[in-house]
């Protein structure tokens, strides 16, 4: 048995350990947040303030850069294009992936597993590697410089992971449920629509959150498929903007801040869905 003083010593040791842990974690948090904060500071300064005092908090904040960007029509084009692509891709992914996952998990067809493995091949190589054949194919069907081209390619590349996530979820639902539904006169499609889909809502949300972030942040696909300025997406336009205003750091910082804000807001609201999509996709895939 431990006597009182050694018990106390243990407690004291643990206490110190916890404090160290908090100090360490807080330091890491500061390291991670500092770059974002520094950029946000820069965004709220005039070009002159940026040159003289680049790193102190901007008091009072200068909104000149922000307003200047908000007044640029091209910025709103980028937002619109990114939104159109993101919404269409997400809707497309959810519809196609849930139908495919339904077939792979619930419908008996010959060669199902081979087909499914073929679908998961997409997990093994990233879009960057396939970008050249994609460009040639999309050009051949005349969908370069067209948002539809970007949407189709993004949807295609998001399907593998989404199907894997949804199939796993559908497989976990007991087949008695389907039997019961069919006794009650529910056909296969009705079972999918009325029973599986409502049950799968958390998984659908995870798949959708994943598609939203992937589409919104994607650079490579629009980079090779789009060169008309009015069709630039936010990442593509941000890159061009940086090229154009390269040395005006406060203006670029403002642009970065404005394009980061939607992503951060989305993340704060949909963190749980996003995290469950990412971990489900990674671990089951």
């Amino acid at each position: 048995m431990l006597n009182d003083s050694s018990k106390k010593r243990m407690k004291f040791k643990e206490y110190i350990l916890v404090i160290f842990k908090y100090i360490f974690l807080t330091l890491v948090a500061i390291l991670i947040l500092t770059p974002i904060v520094i950029i946000a500071f820069g965004a709220l300064k005039t070009r002159g303030e940026f040159v003289t005092n680049p790193y102190i908090p901007p008091i009072p904040p200068n909104l000149g850069n922000i307003i200047r960007i908000l007044k640029m029509p091209i910025f709103w084009y980028m937002i619109r294009n990114s939104l159109v692509i993101m919404v269409s891709t997400t809707v497309g992914v959810v519809i196609v992936a849930s139908l495919a996952a339904f077939v792979f998990s619930r419908v008996r067809i010959r060669g199902k597993n081979i087909l499914f493995n073929f679908f998961t091949l997409g997990l093994m190589f990233p879009v960057t590697i396939a970008i050249l054949p994609i460009f040639l194919m999309v050009r051949q069907v005349g969908l370069t410089n067209n948002l539809i081209g970007v949407i189709l390619v993004q949807t295609a590349f998001q399907l593998s992971i989404s199907i894997v996530i949804l199939r796993n979820f559908f497989m976990d639902i007991p087949s008695e449920l389907q039997d019961a539904a069919s006794i009650d006169g529910c056909n296969t499609f009705g079972f999918l629509w009325r029973i599986l889909m409502p049950l799968a809502r958390p998984s659908l949300a995870a798949v959708a959150a994943l598609a939203v972030v992937t589409s919104w942040n994607d650079l490579v696909i629009p980079l090779v498929l789009i060169d008309k300025e009015k069709l630039w997406t936010l990442p593509l336009g941000t890159m061009q903007f940086q090229g154009q205003y390269g040395m005006d750091y406060s203006l670029i910082s403002a642009f970065l801040l404005l394009s980061a804000i939607p992503a951060i807001i989305f993340y704060l609201f949909a963190e749980r869905q996003l995290v469950s999509g990412l971990t489900a996709g990674a671990i089951k895939g």
Partner: protein, 252 residues
Amino acid sequence: MGPAVDFIGLQNFKRIFTDQVFMKAIGNALLIIVLSLGVQLPMAMALAIMIGQKIRGRAFYRTVFFMPYVLSEVITGIMWLILYNPEPKRGFINAVLEFIPGLKPQAWLGDTRLVLLAIFVVLTWKYIGFHMLLYITGLQNIPRDIEEAALIDGVNKRQMLTNITLPLLLGTIRTSVYLSVLGSLQIFALVWLMTKGGPVNASEVLSTYMYRYSFVRFELGYGSAVAIIMLIISLTFSIIYRYLTRKTEYVA
């Protein structure tokens, strides 16, 4: 694209393997993989173990650590381009270094010896939260009763980690390694934005090499050949890795 005319056999592949720059890109990819597996993943695991336990504020830390992952590579790349500016008056990193006695400002992205390290720091900043999340999930999936049984058997904290937690985390480690290697092979936007593979190809990676030949020089045939080699590397790795690790899966 028409039918293949001017068929040149394996000429392109011969050219690839005799190109010093391509070999440099392979070397850089390997270096990034080694650094990711040797530095980034252990750090991610340590963070996960720290905030996986019941501590106050874990949701806050998790949210912060994962935040860079949701920023696009474009935002990340330009942000760090600014932070790495060689001029301490413009680049925050060098301002900090100037402040610490004994350290000097560096041209992080302009120095052939430093550039890859600088890029690796950004990769870690952006992706460590993702791997941490994987490990947190892995830790949560370890059944409580195994740990409780071990505690009753009187194992100490270190034994618990090396004999219970890590072995049970093997499946997650496997996934994390797999994704890290595949991710390292396809890094593109960050490097393209920060250095375009330079200076003097010091930060060239496979995808920047492929992109330059395909879309800047428009040598589509050569670019395709590079893409095929990238595909072969990725698929070979995937298949071999899955084959080698298929038995270690822990079934909860």
